[in-house]
Symmetry: C2
Subunit: 484 residues, 2 copies
């Protein structure tokens, strides 16, 4: 399923009196027993096993600030953590640093919901699912949506600038945040819980913290944008012959549906086969197999009108030869079934042996070319390997995952395949770079891709990032070893 | 029309050999004759008369970088300038600094239009109008739209994070920019012309430069987002009794029209009267006078469907008592006439004596309360003064302009009125601050509001801004005296 665990060896360290943390947050919120720390130190894909002095769980912004100040006094680094669902190890302290994990999960209050301003002010530890539900209760939409939404926190989403399946219409997390409250490395608090749509009084500090993966400050609360709740939806599962045809379909859908186009996800044939094979009850809604599929959804706050747009769109797409076959969901159950064909793709790959992952993006127009080259490249590297490239085509973001060749299930075979992780990454990332793309479209840098950055990022950009880090966290207290 | 000119007195300075600039950009692109420099040193509202050693006009990014390096050698500050349309003096060197103006107007090439990726890569000196036209020729929309679009440059728009009339649906300039090319204070170039919708490989440098008003770097080129071109529009001019009714109408319009709602502008009765009085051919489209109006536009890339949405919306609004009367434009001419009632508002105020300006925002829900308090406040300060608050209600951004009492046209009366500029600003800004608002919603800080910032901005935010400035431009070479 994954690259072998990066075992980190803690060096022997002098004891430190952690009593000061207990005085701030209460003794039962300073976790030091290895078994209790484990859920905070092991990462979902088992890529990282971290080491920490303690997991400290403050409940208020003031407590977070006090914990940061106290850690500074003790000479301990601070690694902020939300739901521990990040995929690049950004939330896991490596053995090379002497750190505490600062868990935000107890900061889970809703501070305000203001439906007239279309904002919601929440603390960092609320799960994304809870945020979505609260928005819905206020007859609004908070559009951020991703696989781990039941356990990831909004603070983690902000730290990672999470993407997901609604980016095409609503943008990344940074586009959904108006203001922030942030505890800085010196323990001061930036009170930036701005509810304004427009504020040109100086530098954009909000976006400096969004996506900085806890290395510049600790997000304790945020003002989120709310949107009108969709009242109608139309969803189609479309067969296309090639990614190039999918690209043409994307252009047509944008032209005909405009901002009603909220989902445009690419799925390869093998992905559908994996889902049908491993998910009970899942089935292919189309009678004939096709090499590629597009999950295309329209939504609108209006009560009606989408069905006509969808029918007109598919008619034009079939006439123009872009779509070879399509099914429109006629019920909520069918809609859910279509979504399963996309959302189960990560899960089902686990049943097909090792999978080498790439979270990459290229300019939208170059996706067909990128896929051609990347598929040819990995197939040449590992004959018989099974590329399962899927994802957010409308955003130029493909999860280029490659399963090992179909085989015996022999663990040695799997291990041998996964040994090629770094080499395959290097080859695919080189193609990405040639197309002006990004080697981390939505998962971030964390610890997983930190050492890759200098090979891909403009050196001036890296210098600017280092200068900003030094300016805001001169002693490197916050999440050292991540990003930079 | 304006606050009296801030006369800046240049101190006597030793001569500097400017020949090095001529060697870089060519002698005729180094302007030193006072009459030729004048258009670059006098600002549109006559608030600032600047002083510069020269206006230097490079034509390429390399030339910009060389000019910056040479200015550094000479110990001269660099004030970047686009179309010189900024309203806060950010583009005008004050007499307190020894500077050149670096004009970007010769950098006006289109580097690429990529309709499949929906991006356009242009140099900083292109006018906004030209950018709009190029997008339209590619059957796309670049939505940024503002009064000075014929002469302002896209680089200036980016430096100022310009707002305008399309923010409600498309966001501010920062939301319309994907990537940047920036010359830094040390003469290096950040090559960040990213065409990606998703890229989480580090800090968000793009948004650090957008809105930094030339104090952190000089934007030489940008990747802009393109959108589907609207193929249908529906526009209504609606009478409402109060701003509170306008707010209810906004909520209704969002709910019923969703992202098709692209304009929601508030206009007071006196504004309509001024336009009708001073703009030949302008007329009030409604038979009875109303205290307030909303210009409400829907647009969509679909060919049809908006008329029904607009009719349903107005029907519900009239039934609900939100709208007392409304006219829907039946032709392009009528649409233009409706827009004149909004777009001419700044212009017509010049014919009504002195006008004291505020470019402010508050959370959308607080606009009615803000207007009540601010109108009462200025009326108490200057009995008989005529508030003309108008603008981007959907974004919470009101141009709270206050004309002097109707009078004789006596220049002394006008001068006496304008003497109250700072006092009125202080009083209105205090109300803005009490409502969690911004004292510069879309025009920026520049030199006009720099000294006001410390009174309104969170001190930690100011410290962070200073730290970033020191990190990126440690010697204060770029636009000193602006923003910070």
């Amino acid at each position: 399923m994954s690259k072998p665990v990066a075992v980190t060896t803690p060096t022997a360290r002098p004891a430190v009196d952690l009593g000061g943390f207990a005085a701030i947050v209460g003794a039962r919120h300073v976790v030091t027993a290895p078994a209790d720390m484990e859920p905070h130190l092991r990462e979902a894909r088992d890529l990282y096993q971290g080491v920490a002095r303690a997991v400290v769980k403050p409940a208020t912004t003031e407590e977070v600030a006090a914990v940061v100040r106290h850690a500074r006094q003790l000479g301990l680094a601070v690694v902020p953590q939300g739901g521990n669902t990040g995929l690049v190890g950004g939330q896991i302290p490596g053995g090379d640093i002497d750190a505490i994990v600062l868990s935000l999960t107890r900061m889970d209050r809703v501070r305000e919901i203001d439906p007239l301003t279309d904002t919601m002010t929440v603390e960092a530890g609320l799960t994304l699912l809870k945020v979505q539900e609260l928005a819905e209760q206020a007859d609004r939409l908070f559009p951020l949506s991703l696989a781990s939404e039941g356990s990831c926190t909004i603070g983690g989403n902000i730290a990672a600038n999470a993407g997901g399946t609604a980016v095409l219409a609503y943008g990344n997390t940074r586009d959904l945040v108006l203001g922030l409250e942030v505890v800085l490395a010196d323990g001061r608090v930036w009170h930036g819980l701005n509810k304004l749509r427009k504020d040109n009084t100086g530098y954009d500090l909000k976006d400096l913290f969004v996506g900085s993966e806890g290395t510049l400050g600790i997000v304790t609360a945020a003002v989120l944008k709310l949107f009108p709740r969709p009242r109608s939806r139309a969803i189609a599962f479309c067969a296309v012959a090639t990614p190039a045809a999918a690209l043409d379909l994307l252009m047509l859908a944008k032209r005909q549906a405009g901002s009603a186009l909220t989902t445009f996800e690419l799925v390869p044939r093998i992905g559908v086969e994996f889902v049908v094979k491993h998910i009970p009850g899942a089935r292919d809604p189309l009678s004939d197999a096709a090499p590629w599929y597009v999950l295309l959804e329209l939504s609108s706050p209006a009560e009606s009108g989408l069905d006509e747009i969808m029918e007109g769109l598919l008619e034009a797409a079939i006439e123009g030869g872009l779509v070879t076959d399509a099914a429109i969901a006629a019920s909520l159950d069918q809609r859910a079934a279509f979504w399963t064909l996309r959302e189960a793709l990560s899960e089902v790959q686990k049943h097909e042996g090792g999978s080498i992952k790439h979270d990459v993006s290229v300019p939208v127009a170059l996706i067909p070319q990128f896929l051609d080259e990347a598929i040819a490249c990995v197939t040449a590297m590992v004959p018989g390997c099974r590329p399962v490239p899927f994802g957010h085509m409308g955003d130029g973001n493909i999860h280029f995952n490659v399963n090992q060749p179909a085989g015996s299930g022999d663990p040695a075979e799997k291990a041998a395949y996964l040994d090629q992780w770094d080499a395959m990454n290097a080859a695919v990332h080189a193609i990405v770079a040639r197309h002006g793309g990004s080697i981390s479209a939505e998962h971030g840098v964390g610890r997983l891709k930190r050492d890759l950055l200098p090979g891909f990022k403009d050196p001036v950009a890296l210098d600017l990032m280092r200068a900003v880090k030094r300016a805001v966290d001169p002693d490197g207290l916050l999440n050292p070893g991540a990003v930079l």
